[in-house]
Amino acid sequence: MTTGLEIVRAVRRGEMLAEEALEHCIARIEVTDARVNAFTDGSFSRAVDEARAIDARRARGEVLPALAGLPYAVKNLFDIQGLTTRAGSTVRNGEPAASADAVLVQRMHAAGAVLVGALNMDEFAYGFTTENTHYGPCHNPRDLTRIAGGSSGGCGAAVASGQVPVTLGSDTNGSIRVPSSLCGVWGLKPTFGRLSRRGTFPFVASLDHLGPFARCVEDLAATYDAMQGPDPLDPGCHAQRVQPALAQIGNSLQGLRIGVLGGYFDDNAGPSARKAVDIAAHALKATRGVAWPDAALARVAAFVITASEGGSLHLPMLRERAAEYEPLSVDRFIAGALQPVEWYLRAQRFRRIYRDQVLRLFNEWDVLLTPATPVPATPIGTEQFDLNGRSVPARPSMGLLTQPISFAGCPVVAAPLWPDGKQALPLGVQVIAAPWREDLALRVARALESANIACSPIAGI
């Protein structure tokens, strides 16, 4: 399959029907998904209608919108009109179907994109592995015995296996960047407050972000641009206007101050992760050893806020149906619901100081680099892995390097690198910019792609 924007251009020129592009995707899903388990729901009938509508508009000579004919899928926590939003759970099976699409799905529809279905995830987004007990684990297309990462595991796997060129996921503590890293695809976690979250099932209102996955930076930026816009009905959407990024991704890097994070981030990076960031740093002539403030404390504070808000959100349902929750996360939800409020308040107060420290760092730097995961994808079922001689719990430790960054709300592109060769497992590098500067992160990401340092080929499955 070609990239998303190649499909859009082919549809616009009349070289391909949107319905043909969709048929290619559906065929690829049918061939691969029994092994990958990325999809939880198909919306093929709706997709055919959307694709035919695009083809009809072209036949009438209309100017087509920016993503006309682009097939995509969304994490199972986005509302899709007519489907129950299960968020990877079974306890929501009896809930009414969504009466409207999520805001970002509405914006993708307005841009002409074609919604193919919903994707596997950790239940209620509480996890980094997508080992979903109810719907089965999502398998990494780069090695089907390994995890796809999470919690947006289906998003990473669907893109890596060539089922769809673009997916939409969510990231609270790393849930876009971890699967991007482990599946070898591009991911964008925008600035906290950039994109509307209305119409998605929440996890942690103080930390939830939404964003796209893709196999090239151009698709990532085009999708991101199409989804931008203020939303006064989402209290967490702080963007006042659209700031398009696609047109700027090819701009020169001259004058950009690019650094590599040391300290905590180096200590928690395994050999492949260090190699990945070294490759990117060398290509970008980045300065080593930049100190990010209070990363370890930020991770603790993010952990506490996640547990408290997530536990509080689910407390009413936990009282009645805890036994039906994901066994891998239910005890953490309960523990979160019982946390002392003093911990939560300290974490939120610390966050304000932390934000100011991080903003000061970006007076000296434009873009900072660090690995997205400590290690490449682990085998499904792994309980512990070795991190520089320490045995660490596998599931929470996949977020060691992402949590401190999202806690500050900075935009990050996860760039797919191949530190051990293109035949081995990928590992992503986080390209981090100051809040509201997605354009810089995407520009540096595009430079890595142009230099063939980072790339996302379709997995050969």
């Binding site: 370890a296 309960i334 523990a335 019982l338 911990w343 300290r346």
Partner: protein, 72 residues
């Protein structure tokens, strides 16, 4: 002899869960207490971080947007 620190976490879990009307089996109480005890260890660094009275929450309630213009 149980570790006294884990014992008080178990008591805390049992009591707080009852207060919140969250039914837990003995096995669940033990598992949740393990999580909470680990979190308590992690939080010790956060609790030791000095915070001044003016270090308020990251998100502050705003009754209405600040007016763009002064009233005439």
């Amino acid at each position: 002899m149980p570790d006294p620190r884990s014992l008080d976490v178990t008591d805390y879990v049992r009591t707080t869960a009852r207060f919140l009307e969250l039914p837990l089996s003995d096995a669940q109480v033990e598992r949740v207490a393990e999580h909470l005890a680990r979190t308590r260890e992690l939080v010790s660094a956060l609790r030791a971080t000095p915070l001044l009275p003016e270090d308020e929450l990251a998100e502050i309630f705003q009754p209405a947007p600040f007016p763009a213009q002064d009233p005439t």
